[in-house]
C-alpha cells in the first residue's frame, strides 16, 4: 500500500522532469542573445521574443500591484477583524468560488467589463486587472495562512501593553507574517505569468514590434505568443523551435520566481 503512495508521489517529480526534458531538448537551440533581446521579424518566423518577455513582466507586476493590496487587506479583515458569521461565510464562499472559476471565464469577464464597459481597451491595465482578479484568491489564501501562523502571544503581548488593535496588526502581526505573505505574492505572480486565457482578450495581441510606453498600450506576452505560433502562425512547423524556446523562457521565468520564493521563505524561517 505504502509503495503505491510512493509511486504516486514520485510521479509528480517524473512528470516535471519529462516536461523539462522535452522543453530543454527541443528549445535550447532557439535561445541566444538575439532571441532574448530582439522583436520577432519575418511574420514571426525569425527574430526574438523581447516584446513578449517585457509584456509578461508588465502583466505579472501589474497583476500583483492590483491583487496584493486588495488581497492582504481582505485577509486582514477576515482573519483579524471579522467575527464568525453569515457575512464572513458568504465572503469565503465567494473567494473559494473565485478560485474555481476557469481562467477563460476571467478572460471573457475582463473583455466585457474592463475592456469594453470601462473602455480601457486591450491594454496592460485591463490585463493586469483581469490577472489580478484571478490571483486574488491565491493571495488571500496565503496571507490568511501567514496570519494564522503568527502566534497569539504576540497579539496578547502588544494589546497587553496598551497598543490598539490596528497598532498590533501593523507593528507586530504584519511584520511577522511578511515572509508568508511575500511567498504567496511570488507564487501569485508566477501563476499570473503563465496564464494565457485571461490576457488573450484583454491585453495581448498577435504581434506588435514596439515595446509598451504606457499601461494603456497593448502588448505581446509569452504564453499567448506560444499559443499563436503553435496554432495560427504563418508556418507552424518551421517555427516549432521558436515555440519550444519561448516555452522554455516562460517556464524558466516561472520556476525562477518559485525558486526565489522558496529561498526567501527558508531564509526568513531560519532567522526565527
Amino acid at each position: 500500500m505504502f509503495g503505491i503512495f510512493k509511486i504516486c508521489a514520485a510521479a509528480n517529480g517524473i512528470a516535471l522532469a519529462i516536461m523539462l526534458y522535452f522543453l530543454v531538448s527541443r528549445g535550447w537551440r532557439a535561445i541566444n542573445w538575439t532571441f532574448l533581446t530582439q522583436p520577432p521579424i519575418d511574420s514571426m518566423t525569425k527574430g526574438g521574443i523581447l516584446p513578449c518577455i517585457i509584456g509578461t513582466l508588465c502583466l505579472s507586476l501589474g497583476a500583483i500591484a492590483v491583487a496584493l493590496p486588495i488581497g492582504v487587506a481582505s485577509a486582514i479583515y477576515l482573519h483579524e477583524y471579522a467575527r464568525p458569521g453569515r457575512i464572513v461565510r458568504l465572503i469565503r464562499l465567494g473567494i473559494n468560488n473565485l478560485a474555481g472559476v476557469p481562467s477563460v471565464v476571467f478572460g471573457l469577464f475582463g473583455l466585457a467589463f474592463f475592456v469594453v464597459y470601462l473602455e480601457m481597451g486591450v491594454s496592460i491595465f485591463a490585463g493586469s486587472l483581469t490577472l489580478g482578479a484571478l490571483t486574488l484568491p491565491v493571495i488571500i489564501g496565503s496571507t490568511e495562512e501567514a496570519l494564522r501562523a503568527v502566534p497569539d502571544t504576540y497579539r496578547e503581548a502588544s494589546l497587553g501593553i496598551g497598543a490598539t488593535k490596528w497598532q498590533t496588526i501593523y507593528h507586530v502581526v504584519l511584520p511577522a507574517a511578511l515572509p508568508g505573505i511575500l511567498t504567496g505574492a511570488i507564487l501569485g505572480i508566477s501563476r499570473a505569468a503563465g496564464e494565457t486565457a485571461p490576457i488573450m482578450f484583454t491585453a495581448a495581441v498577435f504581434f506588435t514590434p514596439s515595446l509598451p510606453t504606457s499601461i494603456f498600450d497593448e502588448i505581446m506576452a509569452l504564453p499567448y505568443h506560444i499559443y499563436v505560433l503553435a496554432t495560427a502562425g504563418t508556418d507552424i512547423e518551421a517555427t516549432r523551435p521558436l515555440q519550444y524556446g519561448t516555452a522554455l523562457v516562460l517556464i524558466a521565468l516561472v520556476l525562477g520566481l518559485n525558486f526565489i520564493a522558496i529561498i526567501y521563505r527558508s531564509r526568513l524561517r531560519r532567522n526565527r
Binding site: 504576540y154 503581548a157 501593553i161 511577522a176
Partner: protein, 253 residues
C-alpha cells in the same frame, strides 16, 4: 502595613459561553504588595487575572458580571478606554513572548505606540526599564540585536521591562516563571521583590514555594471560587480550612 487599596473585584462572575469560570469573586489588591493567586489548573485564577486588564475581552462568547475597580474607576464601565486601561495595568505572560524585533524596540514598543518619538527620552526609558528588570548589564552591549537570541529567562525579564516601560501602576503576572529553569526563576523572584516597591503586583502561580516566597497575600482558588484569602505567612502556616491545607501540602490538586 498601611497600604492603600489599588484594585478590587466585587461580586465578579465570568462565563466562557455557558461555563461559569468565576463565581462571585471578592478580592482586594493593595499598593506595594504582592498578591499571589494559587489553586489547581482550571480553578479560575488566570481568568481572574485576565479580567483585571480586560484581556478576556478578546475571547468571543465570554461574559462578565460584577465590578472591578482600579482606584475609583470601574473598569468595565462602558466609557472606559480599554487601551488606556492596559497601559495602567500591565501584563507579563506565562511564556516569554518578546516580539521578533531588537531588544531596544521590544522595550520601546509601548512608548512608540503611545506616539513618543523623542529619541533621547526613548533611550532613557529603555535603559531605566531594563535596569528595573535587572537585565541592563546583560544586554547593554547588544541592544540592537534580536530579542529572540536571548535565553528564556532573559526573554522573560525583557518582557517585564517591556511592560514597565509604559509605567503601569499594576503588574499582572501569569505564571511568569513556569517556563524557566530554577536559576532564572530565582532571578524573576528577586525582581518581583524589588518591583513591589513601585507597583501593585498580582501573580498567578502553580508553585507553592514561589507563592510563599514572593507574596504578601495569597488567595486560594478552587473551581472558580475563592476558598481562602489571608496574609501569605498565615495561609501557609495556619490555614483555616482543611481544603487549603490539603492543597498547599500537596495532598490534592
Amino acid at each position: 502595613m498601611q497600604d492603600s487599596l489599588k484594585m478590587s473585584a466585587e461580586d465578579l462572575n465570568f462565563y466562557y459561553g455557558n461555563f461559569q469560570a468565576l463565581h462571585g469573586i471578592n478580592l482586594e489588591f493593595y499598593e506595594n504588595q504582592v498578591t499571589a493567586l494559587i489553586g489547581p489548573s482550571g480553578c479560575g485564577k488566570s481568568t481572574l487575572l485576565r479580567c483585571l486588564n480586560r484581556m478576556n475581552d478578546l475571547i468571543s462568547y465570554s461574559r462578565v458580571e460584577g465590578k472591578v475597580f482600579l482606584d475609583d474607576e470601574e473598569i468595565y464601565d462602558p466609557d472606559v478606554d480599554v487601551v488606556a486601561l492596559r497601559r495602567h495595568v500591565g501584563m507579563v505572560f506565562q511564556k516569554p513572548n518578546p516580539f521578533p524585533k531588537t531588544i531596544f524596540e521590544n522595550v520601546a514598543y509601548g512608548l512608540r505606540v503611545n506616539g513618543i518619538k523623542d529619541k533621547s527620552f526613548l533611550a532613557e526609558r529603555v535603559e531605566t526599564s531594563l535596569k528595573q528588570a535587572a537585565l541592563w548589564d546583560e544586554v547593554k552591549e547588544r541592544l540592537h540585536d534580536s530579542a529572540l537570541g536571548l535565553s528564556g529567562g532573559q526573554q522573560q525579564r525583557l518582557c517585564i521591562a517591556r511592560a514597565m516601560a509604559v509605567e503601569p501602576e499594576v503588574l499582572l503576572m501569569d505564571e511568569p516563571a513556569s517556563a524557566l529553569d530554577p536559576l532564572a526563576t530565582q532571578k524573576i523572584e528577586e525582581l518581583i521583590h524589588d518591583l513591589k516597591k513601585r507597583y501593585t503586583i498580582i501573580i498567578v502561580t502553580h508553585n507553592m514555594q514561589q507563592a510563599a516566597r514572593v507574596s504578601d497575600i495569597t488567595a486560594f482558588f478552587y473551581l472558580g471560587e475563592i476558598i481562602e484569602v489571608d496574609k501569605t505567612e498565615t495561609l501557609f502556616t495556619r490555614p483555616k480550612l482543611e481544603q487549603t491545607s490539603d492543597y498547599i501540602t500537596g495532598r490534592f490538586g
